[in-house]
C-alpha cells in the first residue's frame, strides 16, 4: 500500500485535512514530526501541508526549512522521491531551496481567501497526472504570502525547463507570470499555493483537488 508521510511543524494547520484526504484516497497516512529525522525509505510520497509553520515569523517557511525533519525530506527528494508542497508547504520548499524562487507578500498586502481558476501549464506525472496541459481547474486559495518571485535568470530557467506547473487565470496576488505552482528540474518535487485538499467532495464546492494525490 502506498505510504504517505505528512509533515507536521508547530503551526501547521492543514495537516489533519491532508491526512484525511490521503486516507480517503486509499493510501496509508503517517504524520512526521518536525523535530524527528525519519527513515525516508519507508515512504512512497511526502506532503508538506499548509498553515503557519513557526507562526510564519520572519518569513513564511523560513524557520521550518531549518527543522530536522526537512533534512530527511531533502534526502528523500534527492533520491527522486515525490514531494508535494501545499501553500505554506510551497513556501517551506522554496526556503529549503528544493524549489526555485520565493513567495512574498501578496500584491494587495492582504490575506486572500477565495476560489481561484487555474490553468495547467505543464503536466506532472507524480501529482495530478490526469490533468492535461491547458486544462482549467477550480481550487480554493487562502494565503497572505503567495506572490511568486524569482530573479530574471532563474525565471528564465524555470520556463526553459518547463518547471511551471500551474498558473492563475486571474493573477490575484501579483505572482510573476501568474505562477501558482512549480516543479523542480527533476519534476519529483512540486508545490502549489491553492489547496487541493479543500476541494475533494462536491459539498465543498468543487472536487478538482481530489486527483492531486
Amino acid at each position: 500500500m502506498t505510504k504517505v508521510g505528512v509533515l507536521r511543524f508547530p503551526g501547521t494547520n492543514c495537516d489533519r485535512d491532508v491526512f484525511s484526504w490521503v486516507e480517503a484516497r486509499g493510501f496509508e497516512a503517517e504524520y512526521l514530526w518536525h523535530l524527528d529525522l525519519f527513515e525516508e525509505k519507508k515512504y512512497d510520497l511526502l506532503v508538506v501541508p499548509g498553515g503557519f509553520s513557526y507562526g510564519d515569523y520572519l518569513r513564511s517557511g523560513a524557520l521550518a526549512a531549518l527543522s530536522p525533519a526537512m533534512k530527511s525530506l531533502r534526502r528523500f527528494a534527492s533520491a527522486g522521491g515525490p514531494v508535494l508542497g501545499i501553500c505554506n508547504g510551497f513556501q517551506i520548499l522554496c526556503e529549503s531551496h528544493l524549489l526555485p524562487g520565493a513567495l512574498v507578500k501578496n500584491e494587495g498586502r492582504r490575506f486572500v481567501d477565495d476560489w481561484s481558476e487555474l490553468e495547467v501549464v505543464n503536466e506532472n506525472s507524480k501529482f495530478g497526472a490526469q490533468f492535461k496541459k491547458g486544462q482549467h481547474l477550480k481550487l480554493p486559495i487562502a494565503h497572505g504570502d503567495g506572490r511568486f518571485y524569482a530573479p530574471a535568470d532563474e525565471l528564465k530557467k524555470i520556463y526553459d525547463q518547463n518547471q511551471v506547473w500551474l498558473r492563475y487565470v486571474n493573477n490575484h496576488n501579483g505572482s510573476l507570470g501568474g505562477i501558482a505552482g512549480i516543479m523542480n528540474e527533476k519534476k519529483n518535487v512540486a508545490a502549489l499555493m491553492p489547496h487541493p485538499e479543500r476541494a475533494i467532495y462536491p459539498w465543498m464546492g468543487g472536487q478538482d483537488g481530489w486527483g492531486f494525490l
Partner: protein
C-alpha cells in the same frame, strides 16, 4: 476619609459601599494584594454584578439536550450521534477601540480558549462587528485594523471564520463593537473537561506563555465608560500570538483527551486571579499558590501585577501528581512549558505565597460567590416605544433607491472583509461567508452544522424588546430557508451604562425577549457574555444584544442557493403579516405572536429541506426590490410584471422569504399543507413575483437595470476601506 484612601478606591475601581462590604466579609480592612483581588473579581466584567439577577431567566430555556451550562466556560449542546457542540460569543469592544488589530486578535484568541479549555476542538469562528459611520474620525483605520486582527489571528490558529455580520451606525462612532463567536466540536468519544478544582493534594499547573505586564487592570477597565483619559490607559494593550495559541490548542486537547487532567481553565480577564479563585470556588476546595513560581517574561513584576496580568495564551490546570511528568512531556513536545505553581487543599482557602511569605489567605467564595449583585433601576417594557425609520437610503425613486442601497455601507458586499478570512481550513466548510448561511459538514454523522449571528441594530432602535426577539428569530429563519433547524443560542449583550434606567430597561427587556424567543424555538441559551459601559463621553451605543446560533441540517446536499441559478424559475414571496416596520407610512405596528412565528419557521424549514427550492433568501431591510437585486448578482436576472407601486417594492416587513422553484405545483402543494399544519394560513401572504432569467432586473414599469451594473455597484461600496497601508 483621606485623599489617599479615595485615590486608592479610584485606582482599584472599588466603590465605597463595596469597600464596606469587603470589610464586613473579611472582618477587617483589606490589605496588600487583596485590593487587587477584589478589584478584579468584583469588576462588572468578572462578576456580572449588574446583570446576574436577570441572566437567570435564560435557565428557563434549558432543555435536556444541554449538557452543562451553568458556570462553565461555555455550554455544551448534544446533537445526537455522539456529536456535541460547545460555543460562545464574547466582546472585545474597548481594547479594539484603543488598538484595533491587537484588540480584535486577542478577542478571537480569548473566545477560542473558552472553547478548547472544555476539550472541544474549535471548528469555526464568526464575527459580529458594529462600526460607526465610515466618515467618522478614525473609523477607516478601526475597520481595517479590526478585520486584519481577526484575519491575522484566526487564519494562523487554523480555525475558519465562516460567517459574520457588519453593521454601520453613528451610535458606534466612538464605541465600536467587536464580538467574536467560537464553535467547538466534540466527536463521539471525546471527553468534556470541567473547570472545578478537585482532589486534595493535586497539583496546580501553569501552562503556556510567560506572564508579562500586559493588560494589568484590564478587567476593571472593561467595566468603565470611555473618557478623555482612555488614551492614557494605553499600556494595557495585550499582544496576541496565534502561533502560541495553536500550540496550546493541540497540546491541551491532547492532555484532556488522554484523561491526564482533573480540570482546566483558561486565564482570561483578570488572568491568574479569576482562574484560580473560580476554580477553587467551583470545586469547593482551597489552593496554595506560589506566585514566585509563575513563569515571568519580566522579572521585575510584583505579585499584584502577576495576579492581574492579562498576558494571552495561558492556561491553568489541575492534575494528579503522578500525571505531571506525562503532561510535561506532552507540552514540551509542542515547545511549551508546564510549571507546577501550587496544590489543592481541603480547607477552603486560597493562600497566595511569594517565596516564603504568605501574602493573603482568603475564602474563594468571598470573592466569587459573594460578589455584589446590583438591582439596577429599570422600567418594565411597554411598546411600541419609538418611531424610527429603519432605512437610511433617502431616494424615493426606485431605481435610484436600489443603486444607492447596493453601494451603501448597509448593503454593499462584505467580500472585502471576509475575503481576508480563511473560510475553509479544517476542510469542513460546505458554505462560508460568501453564502447567506454558513454550514459545516460534521465528519461523523455527515449532517450540516449551520452557524449564524444575529441582531439588527436598526430594529433595536425601534424597539428593544422586538429587536431582541428578532436577534434570535431572524437567524433561525435564515437557517430555516436553507432547511436547517436552530438548536441553541449564545449571546453577547452589548449595552451602555447600566446605571442609567433607560439602558437597564432595554437590557432587561432584551434578556426577556431572548428567553422567550429561545423557548418558543426550543433553542436553549447555553452561554453568553455581557458588555456594559459601552458609553463614551455620555453617549451610549444602540443597545446591541448580538446572538450566535447553531443549527442542524440533515445533510449537506441540495442546499438551496442564495442566488438565481437558472433561467425560467418561478420566484415566490411568502410574508409573515403580523408586524410591519420601516419605511413609508406604516412604520411600526402590531406585536409578534411567537407561536405563529415558530409556525412560520417550521413551514420554511420543510420547504428549505424539501429539495424543491432552487434558491431561497430571507428578505432583509431595504425591501423586496433590493432583495431581488441581490439574488441576481450571480448574473441571472429577474422579471416581474406585477403592477405594484414603487413603495410596494421598497417598503420593509419584518419576515418575508423569497422562494425560487422550478416545480411550482409540488411547491404550492407542499406550502399549502405546511401552512395548514402550522395553523398560520391567515397570517401569511403569498405572491408569485415573476420569473428568473435575462441579464436584467425588471420590476414592473419602475426598474430595468442590467445585472452587471447592480453587481459593480454592490462590489465597490466597501472596497476602498480595506486596501489601506
Amino acid at each position: 476619609m483621606s485623599l489617599d484612601f479615595q485615590q486608592k478606591l479610584k485606582h482599584y475601581r472599588i466603590s465605597e459601599s463595596e469597600y464596606q462590604k469587603i470589610c464586613e466579609l473579611l472582618g477587617r480592612e483589606p490589605r496588600s494584594v487583596e485590593w487587587a483581588l477584589f478589584s478584579a473579581l468584583w469588576s462588572e466584567h468578572c462578576s456580572y454584578k449588574s446583570s446576574r439577577a436577570h441572566l437567570k431567566k435564560f435557565a428557563q430555556t434549558i432543555n435536556p439536550t444541554v449538557l452543562n451550562a451553568a458556570g462553565e466556560n461555555a455550554g455544551v449542546v448534544d446533537l445526537g450521534f455522539g456529536e456535541r457542540i460547545a460555543f460562545k460569543m464574547e466582546s472585545h469592544n474597548h481594547p479594539s477601540f484603543i488598538e484595533p488589530y491587537q484588540g480584535a486578535a486577542t478577542g478571537v484568541g480569548g473566545i477560542l480558549r473558552d472553547i478548547f479549555t472544555m476539550g472541544a476542538r474549535p471548528v469555526a469562528i464568526a464575527d459580529y462587528l458594529c462600526f460607526g459611520e465610515t466618515e467618522a474620525a478614525r473609523m477607516p483605520a478601526l475597520m481595517d485594523g479590526v478585520v486584519r486582527g481577526i484575519s491575522g489571528y484566526g487564519n494562523c490558529v487554523g480555525v475558519p471564520t465562516v460567517t459574520g455580520q457588519t453593521n454601520f451606525d453613528s451610535s458606534y462612532n466612538q464605541n465600536i463593537l467587536v464580538n467574536a463567536m467560537a464553535v467547538g466540536l466534540f466527536r463521539p468519544n471525546d471527553r468534556i473537561a470541567l473547570s472545578s478544582a478537585k482532589g486534595v493534594g493535586n497539583l496546580v499547573v501553569y501552562v503556556g506563555a510567560k506572564t508579562g505586564k500586559d493588560g494589568v487592570h484590564g478587567a476593571a477597565m472593561a467595566s468603565e465608560s470611555f473618557d478623555e483619559n482612555s488614551e492614557a490607559k494605553k499600556p494595557n494593550v495585550q499582544i496576541g500570538d496565534p502561533y502560541f495559541e495553536k500550540l496550546l490548542i493541540e497540546s491541551c486537547l491532547q492532555v484532556i483527551q488522554e484523561g491526564l487532567v482533573v480540570s482546566i481553565q483558561d486565564m482570561g480577564a483578570a488572568g491568574l486571579t479569576s482562574s484560580s479563585f473560580e476554580m477553587a470556588s467551583k470545586g469547593q476546595v482551597g489552593l496554595d499558590l506560589h506566585l514566585d513560581q509563575v513563569p515571568l517574561r519580566d522579572s521585575s513584576m510584583t505579585p499584584e501585577e502577576i495576579l492581574l496580568s492579562e498576558s494571552q495564551e495561558r492556561m491553568l490546570l489541575i492534575c494528579e501528581p503522578s500525571k505531571l511528568e506525562k503532561i510535561k512531556a506532552h507540552f514540551s513536545r509542542w515547545g511549551l512549558d508546564a510549571s507546577p505553581i501550587g496544590t489543592v487543599q481541603s480547607e477552603r482557602r486560597v493562600r497566595l505565597y511569594w517565596k516564603t511569605e504568605l501574602l493573603t489567605e482568603l475564602d474563594p467564595d468571598l470573592l466569587v460567590e459573594n460578589a455584589p449583585i446590583y438591582q439596577r433601576e429599570f422600567k418594565a417594557w411597554s411598546f411600541p416605544r419609538k418611531k424610527e425609520k429603519i432605512q437610511k437610503v433617502k431616494s424615493k425613486n426606485l431605481p435610484n433607491h436600489l443603486m444607492e442601497a447596493l453601494e451603501s455601507s448597509d448593503h454593499a458586499s462584505r467580500k472585502p472583509i471576509y475575503r481576508q478570512y480563511d473560510q475553509r481550513v479544517g476542510a469542513m466548510t460546505a458554505q462560508g461567508s460568501d453564502h447567506d448561511l454558513a454550514i459545516l459538514r460534521l465528519p461523523d454523522s455527515g449532517r450540516g452544522l449551520a452557524v449564524a449571528v444575529g441582531c439588527r441594530p436598526s430594529l433595536m432602535k425601534v424597539d428593544a424588546y422586538l429587536g431582541a426577539l428578532d436577534a434570535v428569530i431572524y437567524p433561525s429563519l435564515q437557517m430555516a430557508v436553507k432547511g436547517a433547524k436552530a438548536c441553541a443560542v449564545t449571546d453577547c449583550l452589548n449595552f451602555g451604562n447600566p446605571e442609567k434606567p433607560e439602558i437597564m430597561s432595554e437590557f432587561v427587556a432584551s434578556v426577556e425577549a431572548i428567553t422567550e424567543a429561545s423557548k418558543i424555538l426550543h433553542a436553549p441559551v447555553i452561554s453568553g457574555n455581557v458588555s456594559f459601559y459601552n458609553e463614551t463621553k455620555g453617549v451610549n451605543i444602540t443597545s446591541t444584544p448580538a446572538t450566535g446560533l447553531i443549527g442542524i441540517r440533515q445533510d449537506v446536499e441540495r442546499i438551496p442557493s442564495d442566488l438565481f441559478e437558472n433561467e425560467g424559475d418561478s420566484v415566490f414571496c411568502l410574508s409573515f403579516q403580523a408586524v410591519q416596520v420601516g419605511l413609508s407610512e406604516r412604520e411600526f405596528s402590531g406585536q409578534l405572536n411567537l407561536e405563529k412565528v415558530a409556525g412560520f419557521q417550521k413551514v420554511l424549514m420543510s420547504l428549505g429541506s424539501s429539495g424543491l427550492l432552487k434558491a431561497s433568501q430571507m428578505v432583509g431591510f431595504g425591501g423586496l426590490g433590493l432583495a431581488l437585486a441581490k439574488m441576481s448578482l450571480k448574473g441571472v436576472g429577474f422579471e416581474s410584471d406585477l403592477s405594484w407601486s414603487e413603495d410596494d417594492w421598497s417598503e420593509d416587513q419584518l419576515y418575508r422569504a423569497l422562494l425560487v422553484t422550478d416545480r411550482v405545483q409540488d411547491f404550492e402543494l407542499l406550502l399549502e399543507r405546511e401552512l395548514q399544519a402550522a395553523g398560520i394560513e391567515e397570517d401569511c401572504e403569498f405572491h408569485e413575483l415573476g420569473l428568473t432569467g435575462g441579464s436584467q432586473l425588471k420590476l414592473g414599469s419602475w426598474v430595468q437595470i442590467s445585472v452587471e451594473h447592480l453587481k459593480s455597484q454592490h462590489q465597490n461600496g466597501l472596497k476602498n476601506y480595506f486596501e489601506g497601508v
